[in-house]
Symmetry: C2
Subunit: 360 residues, 2 copies
């Protein structure tokens, strides 16, 4: 026995397909109480489940939300091994499911036709993370579905954006180190791309340094990829070539983990010999040893809010909490420093002005 269709239900209940459809869509005013019940019984006994493809075809909505994740150059796989993505997806999925939407997860091979996915599947909306070339966004606009951008600084009122104040975050982290007596502060980061989150954090870093009349030394900026491995590599370089650095700002917690690992291997203790502050507060950060001091953003909430925004755009009123419509185009989530165990006040009261250098 194959899957029953609406037609089968209609036949079994001796009614028209229209009647069944009405019942399915809750248009009870179109159906008498008796037939309603009869149809419902048949649906149950036949185990009928409507076909979303057919529905999507006629209603032009699929109850499907796409979520697009960038690929790094290096990995063919999804970037999901970055816990940051896992957490945010977790938030998105939970919210969407509550409203009867499903989640289509897809990475994009760069240079590929990312957009076809959104069209082919008749997606009702999409959440896009990461940063892409300009044309990508131009293409997105042509498909006219609601789109929420996460962590994008694209200045285009067409899109809805959820993000944080990355510049401020970078400032916050760096200032935090400065306030604790550090003057030679390194920054370890992924690729600094124009208008990307990393660039903003970098800007914040520089602002804090300048504002405190410290010397900005470009050599202290270690730019490569947003990865643990980069953290490891940078840590070794700092250990061997920059002994004067007493604190580092890692623009992602994953990088911080790598840093601390290589410092440890080099016999440099965190935070006793060198302080480290991260960014993100992925859930592993509190589990790390020592627990990572970091700039916290509420990642899961970011996902939830992105989903809510999308739902309300689609007309599902997904906004549970606020609902006040300020400028919905852009939502900036708060940031805060979580003080844990990887930053220490330098010099411990005694001025280091004489030597000015040296972790040793």
């Amino acid at each position: 026995m194959k899957r029953p269709t609406l037609k089968d239900v209609a036949k079994a209940a001796s009614v028209s397909t229209a009647a069944v459809s009405y019942v399915l869509n809750g248009k009870h005013e179109k159906v008498s109480g008796e037939t309603l019940e009869r149809i419902n019984n048949v649906i149950k006994s036949l185990n009928y489940v409507p076909d979303y493809s057919a529905r999507s075809l006629v209603k032009n909505q699929s109850r499907l939300i796409g979520i697009v994740i960038p690929q790094t150059e290096k990995h063919a796989q999804l970037i999901l091994e970055n816990p940051w993505y896992s957490e945010i997806i977790s938030g998105i999925e939970g919210k969407l499911r509550k409203y009867g939407y499903h989640l289509l997860l897809s990475g994009v091979n760069q240079g590929e036709s990312y957009l076809d996915l959104l069209i082919q599947r008749n997606l009702d909306g999409a959440i896009i993370m990461g940063i892409y070339p300009e044309e990508f966004y131009e293409g997105l606009k042509k498909i006219k579905i609601p789109i929420v951008l996460i962590d994008s600084y694209i200045n285009d009122s067409y899109f809805y954006r959820i993000g944080i104040d990355d510049e401020y975050g970078g400032y916050l982290a760096t200032k935090y180190l400065i306030d604790r007596g550090h003057t030679n502060i390194g920054m370890i980061t992924g690729a600094i791309r124009r208008e990307g989150v990393v660039e903003k954090r970098f800007l914040g870093y520089k602002r804090a340094i300048r504002e405190s009349n410290l010397f900005y030394n470009p050599d202290y900026v270690f730019e490569d990829s947003m990865s643990y491995d980069h953290g490891v590599a940078a840590g070794h370089r700092i250990a061997s070539a920059f002994p004067e650095i007493t604190a580092v700002f890692a623009t992602a917690d994953m990088i911080a983990f790598g840093l601390i690992k290589s410092f440890t291997d080099e016999g440099i203790r965190t935070p006793d010999d060198i302080s480290v502050i991260g960014f993100d507060d992925v859930f592993m950060s509190r589990m790390f040893l020592p627990p990572l001091t970091t700039v916290r953003q509420d990642i899961k909430k970011k996902g939830v809010i992105a989903a809510e925004r999308l739902l309300s755009l689609i007309g599902e009123a997904g906004d549970d909490d606020n609902g006040q419509s300020e400028d919905l185009r852009e939502t900036i989530l708060p940031l805060e420093i979580v003080e844990r165990g990887t930053v220490i006040r330098r010099g411990n009261g005694q001025s280091l002005t004489e030597t000015e250098h040296g972790r040793g």
Copy 2:
């Protein structure tokens, strides 16, 4: 201007819809070279993208693979914050995308109609992780789509299974500790459910202990949830109530992290005072400090293989490597111990028979 349809293309190219369809589906033998080119040009210029809903309707295949993740009781959100899931999904997604399939990600609220998802969306197949009540599997069988179960011990030849030998893994871990002189070995674990992976690991633990003529003490088994928090809680209990325990086997790396954390807080050093071995080797394990000794399973590969198996069931010949059809119903991936920094030989040569106890 709205989205162009196949009909639009046909009109613009002055051909029938059939011709366009042929081109789309690579049935070039049905179309002359000239029209082929013309149609292709129109497709490009119109930016035509076929609608999968319509296609799904007629072909009864959606190029959509479902992936079902269980929810724990505690979390409303996806369990994605467990890196284990992230990694395996990463593997699955990469493989599927390569073959033009998309991934539908969904958690299941327990007791809910998980199955509707699979039917509604006309999924071509599904990958199911975790363990569910019996009825669930019965329901699955009624939908007649290929299904790959990950880490399930359901004994039903209807399903295809990918897993590891959990019993052996538990044995391996415990034996490893025993071989290093430990005799009082705790086991910290998530819920031990009948025929679940955890039960198997538990069985392995007991076998190793008995085989070595050690005393199996049920008090040494701390069962709760597969979580970091449980590790923390268990660690504190061990510290305060079971000083004689010198080594613990955590049935998941996440638990191990929690254990080590609470040990550290209690002033108990790992591995100097107590040894810890984990299970899984999630990517964080090598990053942890100290790096976690653990039973490694190749998580991402598990995902890749699950995807391959599914693809080949669907008829996409997803098996890149082997292809030899042994008993494809069940694939057991290898396990190995990764020696890192959290297990130490006990007693360091000197016999402890006198005291027999004490991490002191």
